[in-house]
Amino acid sequence: MHLMYFTEQPMSAYPEQAGRDFGATALMFSNKHFDPVAGSRLYNDYIEQYMLAEEVGVDGIMLNEHHNAPFCMQAKANIFAAILAGMTKKVKIVMLGNPLPLAENPIRLAEELAMIDMISKGRLVSGFVRGGGQEQLATGVNPAFNRERFEEAHELVTRAWTQTGPFRFEGNHYQHRVVNPWAVPLQKPYPRVWIPGVISKETIIWAAQQRYPYIALNTSIEQTKKIWELYDSVAADVGYVGGPENRGYLIQVHVSDNEEKAIENARQFRWMQGEFTGLAHPVWSTPSGYGSPSARRAFVEFASGRAKNPRGETSFEQQMADLRIIAGTPKTVVAKLKRILEETRPGILALWGNDGRVSQADSLTCIKLIGQEVFPAIREIAKSLDLKSPFEANAPVHLKYSTDLKPRKAAAAE
């Protein structure tokens, strides 16, 4: 079991009322409300949190990035990855992930990641994402080619990591006549790639086809089970058996030394007016061409206010009851996490410990209790359930490095 700490790095000092007055807290919500003095303090608070996380024994620190919104202060995940590469000694630096389509020059991304891998002495896990709709608009990237750019940039980055240069790359969206970066990853064949996601079936299928672990982001137990059903079926098609080493899960868990305080702090998981990424116009989160064509009709109904959010809106209490938010002392938290582990069998688990306006003191207490009490207990449970991480299972980095493939049709013919 690989156990990680995660925070969205909330810009908790923004004026909440200004967001309510404007009616949105993302993309077009003015950055005149961003206070760099508070920003400086918060960035350094987050570094302190990560250093403590390593000290108390987490296996990995999960990083991500978003743009133009207070819910996440990381505008470039590679900056924090580089900081952690130099400042930490043991933890895996798990990027979930770099938004590939936003890269105008994926070779530069490949170079940055190679540098992080070498400086950290091989501790990089290089996850990739499509980036949300608003990220495309915040960076001026065409949402209609999001998936094509994702797949093409992935090909270019992994080739830049593995293929001896110089070579030439002539794609539909990326053309590079000289690919020959003088920075290549320390880990061979290349750093592990994990793929986080929320809803897109296409991404689950793509991850399973690559044999990249898929990290379900705060889905319900039932949704998570459906994801693994789909993943495992694609895995069987391409010839391997999906298992815990292919499965990751991120969940909002706040730990404290008393139950009431834990629940009070856990309410901060809904601090962006109950919306994961803040209030936004639906056409910002799902610009035309970004979503699945099959979801077009349902989406326009929602976007024009004729139908409820297809993702559903649930209360804090309901999310607690559904185990999508867990809060309490280590003992209660471990009991609830055990149920999730039994039901969904992940080999990678990330706890999103603190959000919103949880104080730095309470955040540090949470991290300490996670590292010293929750994770040791989870490790024992994982052992008893045989939940191995990709590292423990020595899983291939990509499908093409597999030595055990038995495609479904060939297997049936045996």
Partner: protein, 261 residues
């Protein structure tokens, strides 16, 4: 204008299928529709069909024409429409471009300046407005965007319904996706087009609503400067979609500019 007999057909132009509506007799006029696609019937089309042979091709990727996934620019559409005219053996057509269709018309004019009788650009996109910016589809809701094209919202209600249908919203999303695919950056204009219009000697009429909130009126002036033989007409109390908001006024401007035979 009841009784105009429109024919619908699918025409293949070098492998690209186009939906074409056609009606009327006389000199050929090609009407190029907005980036929001086009309704099947419009009083403006009927008014023109009373005097001319009117062709309304649905742009590839818009309304009833399927999307060619290879297309990357608005000029690609202009080339396909030029191919359509060539296949139909139509020479010296007048081009009437509405909004985004004005950009396509201007590109078509620049490609074959000798094969053009008149050019009419109505609230045309395609040129970077010297002042102000073209309204951004990507950050504006479907209905808000469509409503921004009208000065008088009761006219919008009459044209699309106060609550446009889900079919209409879905079509706007399909059209949006195509606009993103071909006009994302720079958004809704070409940096070279103004420099390519200098060879267009055919008479040009540039029409703008005085309350155009989609394409700033400053772009009208830029078009008139770029086209050697152009004049400007401003339609009062009118938004961007002059064709839908004041169809009779626009039809009158067009017919008096082009003349009747």
């Amino acid at each position: 204008m009841a009784g105009v007999d429109w024919t619908d057909s699918t025409v293949e132009v070098g492998g690209t299928k186009l939906h074409l509506k056609r009606a009327g007799k006389g000199r050929p006029i090609v009407v190029l529709h907005h980036e929001t696609g086009t309704l099947d019937q419009l009083p403006f089309y009927d008014a023109l069909a009373a005097h001319y042979d009117v062709l309304v091709p649905h742009h590839p990727g818009y309304s009833r024409s399927e999307r060619p996934t290879w297309m990357r620019s608005v000029r690609d559409i202009a080339v396909i429409h030029r191919g359509l005219l060539s296949d139909l053996k139509i020479k010296d057509a007048a081009l009437v471009g509405l909004g985004f269709g004005g950009w396509i018309a201007a590109e078509m004019a620049s490609m074959a300046p000798a094969d053009l009788s008149h050019l009419v650009l109505v609230g045309a996109m395609g040129i970077k407005p010297p002042q102000g910016d073209i309204l951004d589809l990507a950050v504006t809701g479907y209905v808000d965007y469509a409503r921004a094209g009208f000065h008088d919202q009761t006219v919008f209600d009459r044209v699309y319904g106060a609550e446009p249908s889900i079919d209409q919203l879905e079509m706007w999303d399909v059209c949006r996706e195509m606009s993103f695919r071909i006009a994302w950056k720079p958004y809704m204009y070409s940096q070279t087009l103004p420099h390519l219009l200098g060879a267009v000697r055919a008479p040009a009429l540039v029409v703008w609503g005085d309350d155009d909130r989609v394409v700033p009126q400053s772009a009208a002036k830029r078009y008139v400067e770029a086209l050697p033989n152009a004049k400007l007409e401003i339609v009062k109390a009118c938004g961007h979609c002059v064709d839908m908001e004041q169809p009779e006024a626009l039809a009158k401007l067009v017919t008096s500019f082009i003349g009747r035979e």
